[in-house]
């Protein structure tokens, strides 16, 4: 098994504040990995660094696309990162609210299409065929997420849980090798969370992609992930299997505070 992503000594400074402090992380092919930690630990900043929203101060982010050698993607623009096979969702939903469900998914396909501006203007056969194929693939993805009956609905009219699913569907449409989910279960009730757990596992099994997720819902994290990284104050304080993490005194300290010796 190969690493889809390998992060070495990633550091992100904002002025004098070190939000992420030399964090190492890797995700293997088809692996589900969780990144946890108390609020303000630097998890989302870490995601922003690897998806190209921030350029990290120090460190390497190496991504392996289908065949090629790993590529260092530091300083790539987000759209170039997406082309390299990384897709993400957000803590707060960021769908294109005024577009339909299908259009949202189709937008995800955009970076995989070759049609140039002339093709778009003159609508030649090749462009049309390509768009049709893209629409079909998007429909398949939506079907997998159980959204196929709402294709023509505006994204803003979907119930909350479905909006979350559509975000994942849109990310999948970019044909990623690694899917980054930022708190996918935020705001969901226990029933929806359980459904989501199955869905994430199904995506991994059927689409053969690796998943790295940030989550506060420990039940979901423990159920789903094969390995867990724990961050606190910008640093990685532990990594290992769910079992290891559960019993790690450092982690318990970070979450619950230190025990006071009587």
């Amino acid at each position: 098994m190969e690493n889809v992503i390998q992060v070495n000594g990633l550091t992100m400074d904002f002025g004098g504040l070190r939000a992420v402090d030399s964090v190492d992380l890797y995700v293997k092919d088809k692996e589900i990995v969780a990144l946890i930690g108390p609020n303000g630990a630097g998890k989302t900043t870490f995601f922003n660094c690897i998806t190209g929203i921030y350029t990290p101060t120090k460190g390497d982010i190496l991504v392996r696309s289908t065949k090629s050698q790993p590529v260092r993607i530091n300083g790539f623009k987000p759209n170039r990162v997406t082309e390299r096979g990384l897709a993400r969702t957000f803590q707060n939903i960021r769908l294109f609210q005024n577009m339909t469900v299908l259009e949202n998914a189709m937008i995800g396909k955009h970076c995989r299409l070759n049609a140039k501006i002339l093709g778009a203007l003159f609508r030649d056969k090749k462009t049309k065929a390509e768009e049709l194929k893209a629409a079909q693939e998007c429909w398949e993805i939506l079907k997998k997420m159980g959204l196929e009956n709402q294709c023509d609905e505006l994204a803003c009219n979907l119930p909350y849980g479905d909006q979350r699913k559509l975000e994942i569907a849109r990310a999948l449409a970019t044909e990623p090798r690694l899917l980054l989910l930022d708190e996918p279960a935020a705001g969901m009730n226990p029933h929806e969370t359980e459904e989501l757990t199955h869905l994430i596992r199904k995506i991994r099994d059927e689409e053969n992609i690796a998943i790295l997720l940030i989550e506060h819902d420990m039940k979901l994290v423990m159920n789903l992930s094969e390995r867990i990284y724990v961050m606190d104050h910008g640093q990685k304080i532990a990594d290992g299997t769910p079992m290891d993490i559960r019993n790690n005194p450092e982690v318990i300290k970070a979450y619950l505070g230190e025990e006071i010796d009587a």
Partner: protein
């Protein structure tokens, strides 16, 4: 009644031209939240390019309709190149600057382009050949609705329909809508936002150039300053309809065209601008977001 119809069609023609220019304002605003004050100059450059092409072709004795078509094509290409370059030079480096900076840069670009044409060409009004042919079938109504007006209105309508279809159904159109709604998210799902912005400027400039050629061959004269007033009027139309909204820009432009036309016809041509801008003030008082604009709800 004839007089009314004449004014009606005159207003429709005026409105169509405003609409062609206003679309460029509204599309650019929708995507980069910038008022591109140099847009009127792109329209003026389109008219000048057409004049140069038309003069050369007339010299070689080419047929008028062919001249009109060729001149429009060259003007569209040339103006698009200007629009594209202006964005790269004056706006792109300021994309993350405070919003006032690109606005100032836009005004600077506008003044620069005006003076550049003034120096390169002339400050005089130049006669523009009447390239739009007279149709025989229009003769019975030509006193209220001329052939040139018909061509302008129809061309504009075709351009609008094409633009709407483009935005609605093509990939690039979808990418534009996505970029307008959430730029960061568009980047994250792999849209090259820089290219989308360039495409927006190119399309906006093409429409403006088309407007420039049409109005110049209708009115019959141009100078380096025509972009300024046309730009202000089109900007007014875009704000009237709700800036950022494409149907809004067209609606605003038509309303503005009719207001001016009727005001000129029934009151006095001295009051043309007074009515146009009074209308703008009224709309802004009662519907600050414009006719079709959505009031912004700020999330706290």
């Amino acid at each position: 009644m004839d007089y009314f119809l004449e004014l009606f069609f005159g207003g429709l023609t005026r409105g169509s031209i405003y609409a062609l220019i206003a679309l460029g304002y509204t599309m650019v605003y929708g995507i980069v939240q910038l008022i591109n004050f140099a847009h009127g100059e792109i329209y003026m450059i389109g008219a000048f390019t057409a004049l140069i092409v038309a003069s050369v072709l007339t010299f070689y004795g080419v047929n008028t309709v062919a001249i009109l078509i060729l001149a429009s094509i060259v003007a569209v290409i040339y103006s698009s190149a200007y629009g594209f370059t202006v964005e790269k030079i004056a706006y792109k480096p300021l994309r993350n600057a405070p919003r006032l900076s690109p606005l100032i840069s836009a005004i600077g670009m506008s003044i620069f382009l005006q003076n550049y044409v003034l120096l390169a060409q002339t400050s005089d009004f130049l006669p523009f050949p009447r390239l739009i042919p007279q149709f025989h079938f229009m003769e019975p109504v030509s006193h209220i609705f001329s052939s040139a007006e018909l061509v302008i209105v129809v061309t504009t309508m075709v351009a609008m329909v094409l633009l709407t279809l483009f935005i609605k159904f093509t990939n690039l159109g979808k990418a534009m809508r996505a970029t307008a709604q959430d730029k960061t998210m568009a980047l994250l799902i792999g849209i090259d936002v820089d290219r989308v912005i360039s495409a927006t400027f190119i399309i906006g400039s093409s429409l403006a150039a088309l407007g420039g050629v049409l109005i110049a061959s209708h009115i019959g004269q141009i100078n380096f300053y025509i972009g300024f007033i046309a730009g202000i009027k089109a900007f007014t139309a875009a704000v009237l309809g709700g800036i950022g909204s494409i149907p809004g820009a067209v609606l605003g432009a038509l309303i503005l065209g009719w207001t001016e036309s009727f005001a000129t016809g029934y009151v006095s041509s001295d009051y043309e601008d007074v009515f146009a801008f009074a209308l703008l003030v009224l709309i802004l008082i009662f519907r600050p977001a414009g006719l079709l604009g959505k009031a912004e709800t700020k999330k706290v």
